[in-house]
Amino acid sequence: MSFLADIGHVLLTADLWRAALEAAALLVLPALGGVISERSGVVNIAMEGMMLTGAFFAVVADLALHNPWLAALVGIVAGGLMALIHAVVSIRFRADQIVSGIAINIFAAGLTLFLVQRIYGLQDVGHVGQSELLPYINIPLLDQIPFLGRVLFQQNVVVYAALVLLVLVQLTLFRTRLGLRIRSVGEHPQAADTAGINVYAIRYWAVITSGLLSGLAGAFLAIGISNTFVPNMTDGRGYIALAAVIFGKWTPTGAFIACLIFGLGQAIYDANSIIHVSQYLLSMLPYILTLIVLAGVVGRSIPPAADGLPYAPENE
């Protein structure tokens, strides 16, 4: 059972937890998007596609503009545009939101691969230079704190942004009037409408925001953690984010806890060079852990009451 000792050793290193937080931040961005969208009443399972789109366009932009900030912006907007498709199809056309979400994911996968081959052909997509990536920033003074300094204050700029956004979204949703409006639109759109809230506008913006956040995550993945685009590089993270949303009962902090579990599992797996157990069993760790926590602690997840129902007031 020496692998348990190996895992124990690894868990004591600051590097592992830093990696776990980074992976969690990558996942929490689309999860926040999912929370916002669904709280407003629009089911959103398209995070995967929006993230992939953001990743692709961020790389293309960075290779052309040589500026990671502009490129990240491009990635964010690209995610938002993909979300706009979902918004229009779901809200304006009152389509089934699950179908639309699935369609977005398939569309993004096909479109990005298609464009890679059309634009770059046989050539590599190419990789972004070191100086043109979203930078890792060590926060002075704080990063010198033993252990925690490495974990919390030697991260990529997007990780800091993600943590800030996490707090922002949690507070906005549950402590501000805007948040109340969003949630009321998701629970009782009829009543919200009667109270003068523009249901459609709120829903559109919620969905677009989810796209912006997922696009940011994609940009982080492609020009922050990595330095190029590879077809399907998001590799199911959008679906993990979806699971996190539901696991977290449609709250930002709850979703973040799920993201941490996955991040931790991912980080432990990445240490398989020094953990002497089947890497395949190691890979199952985050998923089994989530199941256990879900079954034992989280239990029932109840979504917003009007989640998934296209808004169709009688007197329209």
Binding site: F93, D96, G110, F114, Q117, R118, L242, Y287, P303, A305
Partner: protein, 403 residues
């Protein structure tokens, strides 16, 4: 209005044709937009679609492709989709979203392989039913766990089935990459299953037999197709002609109402997931028994269960719909390769087409184009709205509590 047989026949025909108009129109819309995308980016849409038609349906092959071969490839591709499509569609009816069809399929494949290797000496009449049954049971269990968790503590099936998908994937790799099932030559695949565990092909694999100009062995259509078609029939009968089917649909409409009607909602949820997993596991077993004959690393990256979600949605959750949607997806899959070989267009175009078809069906864009949509009032929300059912009613506690 006259009420003779003539006008009634005409209106019945119109209803059937109308049922096809929306999906057919969506397909045409998708192909039109797809062609535009190809043209804009410098490709030749006609060559692309010719390749697609040829590879998918054996129509219009002008580069020496063999039509019969193409059709047989399409059939082999869509066979598992028939069953996995049911595996997703049936829970939809109960208000459950089974994203876990892939994991259930893998469970079935693993079980089939294990049984097929361990008992490889047994003769076909015993071994074949054993492996198929084994796969079915494995799939049922893989779906049953989320079902039970949902029914007892309300754990959302989207989360649990996604988790189990990954566990199944890694289990496959664990078994065949340096694991207990790996064949002795170290090639990240299992040994082949016994000869008795193989599903018979429609055409004998006789090297001397030439059919349609090619050796008979190239036509890999296997009897799993019949099982798949039977699965569709069973699905339709189950859903519409049994009391269980009635309960499933009732639970899908409203758990509260179903409970007041005396239906055991928890039991229905569990049974639904078990049956869904069974179908998917059967598909996995059939893939091994009919096509691959061993468990390979390809299963790690298999996407049949995910395609099944699109198939179930595109098929509007009905048996006939799933049949046609499966054929469409199988044809697109087969056509994509020929399209790339002949026209140089990446088969990613296939994914774009799939997405466009889904969008257009979901949104019923035809409405906007002012084409008459038979029997549908423009402002009504979509008649089958899995999203609505899933995310609201079904998530409510099986024991009757509300938000």
């Amino acid at each position: 209005m006259a009420t003779g047989p003539g006008p009634r026949l005409a209106s019945a025909f119109r209803r059937v044709a109308g049922g096809f108009a929306v999906p057919l129109g969506s397909v045409v819309f998708a192909f039109a937009v797809g062609g535009l995308i190809v043209a804009i980016t410098g490709g030749n849409p006609f060559a692309a679609y010719q390749g697609l038609m040829c590879g998918g349906l054996g129509i219009g092959c002008a580069n020496g492709e063999n039509s019969a071969l193409q059709i047989s490839t399409t059939i082999v591709f869509f066979t598992p989709l028939l069953m996995t499509g049911v595996a997703v569609a049936l829970p939809f009816r109960a208000g459950l979203f089974n994203i876990g069809a892939e994991g259930q399929l893998l469970a079935g494949s693993v079980a089939c392989t294990v049984i097929g290797i361990k008992f490889s000496g047994l003769p076909a009449p015993i071994l074949l039913p054993m492996v198929l049954l084994g796969g079915t049971l494995a799939g049922a269990i893989w779906a049953g766990v989320p079902g039970v968790l949902k029914a007892t503590i309300g754990a959302h099936e989207v989360v649990t089935t996604i988790m189990l998908n990954y566990v199944a994937q890694w289990l496959v790799r664990y078994l065949i990459v340096g694991g207990p099932l790996q064949a002795s030559n170290g090639f990240s695949a299992s040994s082949p299953i016994g000869a008795g565990a193989r599903l018979p092909l429609f055409l004998p694999n006789d090297p001397g037999l030439i059919i349609f100009g090619l050796p008979a062995g190239v036509y890999r259509v296997h009897t799993g197709l019949l099982i798949g078609l039977a699965a569709l029939v069973i699905f339709a009968i189950l859903l519409w002609r049994t009391s269980l089917g009635y309960e499933i649909r009732a639970v899908g409409q409203s758990q509260r109402a179903a409970r007041y009607g005396g239906i055991n909602v928890a039991r229905t949820i569990i049974v639904t997931m078990l049956i869904a997993g069974a179908f998917s596991g059967l598909a996995g077993a059939i893939q091994i028994a009919g096509v691959d004959h061993n468990l390979t690393d390809k299963y790690f990256n298999d996407t049949t269960g995910f395609d099944a979600i699109a198939v179930a949605l595109l098929g509007l959750g009905s048996a006939v719909g799933i049949l046609f949607a499966s054929i469409l997806f199988g044809a697109l899959h087969a056509g994509g390769s020929v399209m790339q070989a002949d026209a140089g267009i990446s088969s990613s175009l296939v994914q774009i087409l799939q997405a466009l078809i889904l969008f257009s069906i979901a949104a019923n864009f035809l409405r906007v184009l002012r084409l008459p949509a038979f029997g549908r009032r423009p402002s009504a929300p979509a008649p089958t709205a899995p999203a609505a059912a899933l995310m609201t009613e079904a998530a409510k506690a099986p024991t009757g509590e509300t938000t």
